[in-house]
């Protein structure tokens, strides 16, 4: 009954070379080596990936979605950052 001693690890799997590692889930483990073995057994039983990352959950610093307005300032007033802001002459239909 000592599950609490185990740390939570978040698991990320790269499904093929050239793609990003993608979060797939989490698990409990004593250390990162063990987490990596567990992740292999649990999340890649059908060749889902070529590489696994495990990160101890307490090492992740996360922003809060409620803070999105103040923290990730909406750039709505800076429309010139978007390609759609620029008007092209009629003769050019593709750029």
């Amino acid at each position: 009954m000592n599950q609490e001693y185990l740390s939570t690890y978040e698991v990320f799997v790269r499904s093929a070379r050239g793609l990003d590692h993608k979060h797939v889930g989490s698990l409990h483990a004593e250390n990162s080596q063990q987490a990596l073995m567990y992740a292999r057994d649990v999340y890649t039983r059908r060749s889902e990936g070529v590489s696994i990352w495990v990160v101890e959950a307490i090492n992740i610093t996360a922003s809060q979605e409620e803070d999105v307005e103040s923290f990730i300032e909406p750039m709505d007033e800076k429309k010139y950052r978007h390609a759609s802001h620029y008007q092209l002459p009629d003769k050019i239909d593709n750029m």
């Binding site: 000592n2 889930g25 250390n31 039983r45 996360a62 979605e65």
Partner: protein, 319 residues
């Protein structure tokens, strides 16, 4: 402010549900939503884990090496599914040991089907085909559940689950086309497992304690009776292909409804088994406790190893 704030939060929550947005772990949610989810998700996780027991009994007795390898792979999947679901449940702020304790003390339930014994090899086939088949119907609907981690776990589980049903049907097909004794074995297993499979969808909508609130919160997306009918309609043609007799004499096509009619489920049996009086309830929990206790030395060893590693790291840092 004290009264306005919670009301605002609740309104925001309701709006997210209305807009088909997922609820994520750090979002505010009503306490009853959290509790309801913990109940349903942990029950789901426990079912995956306890479900390994009746099938596990047949690993050493599988008729061929291929069947043994297949059964092992299926049971390993169930362990994985249990883990996905426990991890997802823990995002609601409860610990693994609380969940396991609730299972072992009988406070939490699991699918009552696993309180029936797997008597013959045909039971392994019928279980994969019918029990996993019913679970898939349920889980496909749950891929759209409103709680993000639950929905994502369901997507992963559904992807893995379809081989479970097919391997079960393959076993049933081989038996049904075999000797008269083998065919009889398949018929007998199907007859016994049919009714508990229908019970897996839970009580009728009108009698289901948690259903209406769960539907409102989009934890459940389709009703018990709707999903049960869907399972019956898709399974009956599969029974015909096996050439077995129907497990329920009242099954017949209802042209007007566009569905199969069927006999009434024995709900007394359902509640008896749920409340601990099934043939294997005691055995299942006893075995789970024993396996958990016998694994303690492994957990202890890794804990000691980690402490030793930490001490070593600390002393090298000091140098």
């Amino acid at each position: 402010m004290q009264t306005v704030e919670p009301l605002l939060q609740e309104a925001e929550f309701d709006q997210k549900i209305l807009d088909e947005q997922k609820i994520e772990p750090r979002d505010w949610m009503p306490e009853a939503y959290r509790k309801n989810l913990i109940r349903q998700m942990s029950q789901h996780a426990h079912s995956e884990v306890i479900g390994m027991q009746p099938e596990g009994n047949w690993i050493t007795r599988a008729p061929t090496l291929r069947r043994k390898a297949v059964l092992l792979a299926k049971i390993q999947d169930e362990a994985g599914h249990g883990l996905y679901l426990y991890s997802a449940t823990e995002t609601l702020g409860c610990t693994r040991s609380e969940l396991i304790e609730a299972l072992q003390t009988g406070k939490a339930k699991y699918a009552s089907i696993f309180n029936y014994p797997a008597l013959t090899w045909a039971d392994v086939g019928a279980t994969g085909w019918l029990v996993d088949g019913a679970a898939i119907v349920n889980q496909i609907a749950l891929q759209r559940t409103s709680y993000g981690p639950y929905a994502r776990a369901m997507v992963r589980i559904c992807k893995e689950e379809s081989f479970h049903q097919r391997q079960g049907y393959e076993i049933m097909f081989a038996l049904a086309k075999g000797s008269p004794q083998q065919k009889q074995m398949a018929q007998d297993a199907m007859n016994r497992i049919w009714w508990p499979s229908l019970m897996m969808f839970g009580p009728h909508d009108a009698d289901s304690a948690h259903s209406s609130q769960s539907m409102k919160w989009k934890i459940k997306r389709q009703s018990n009776d709707f999903l049960r009918q869907k399972f019956i309609d898709q399974t009956i043609p599969q029974i015909k292909v096996l050439g077995l007799d129907m497990p329920d004499p009242e099954i017949r096509w209802n042209k007007k409804r566009g569905h199969y009619d069927h006999g009434e489920i024995n709900w007394d049996e359902f509640y008896q088994v749920i409340n601990g009086q099934g043939p294997c309830n005691h055995q299942r929990i006893k075995h789970h406790k024993r396996a958990h206790d016998e694994g303690e030395w492994v957990r202890e060893a890794v804990r000691n190893y980690r402490e030793k590693q930490n001490r070593r790291e600390n002393s090298t840092m000091k140098k």
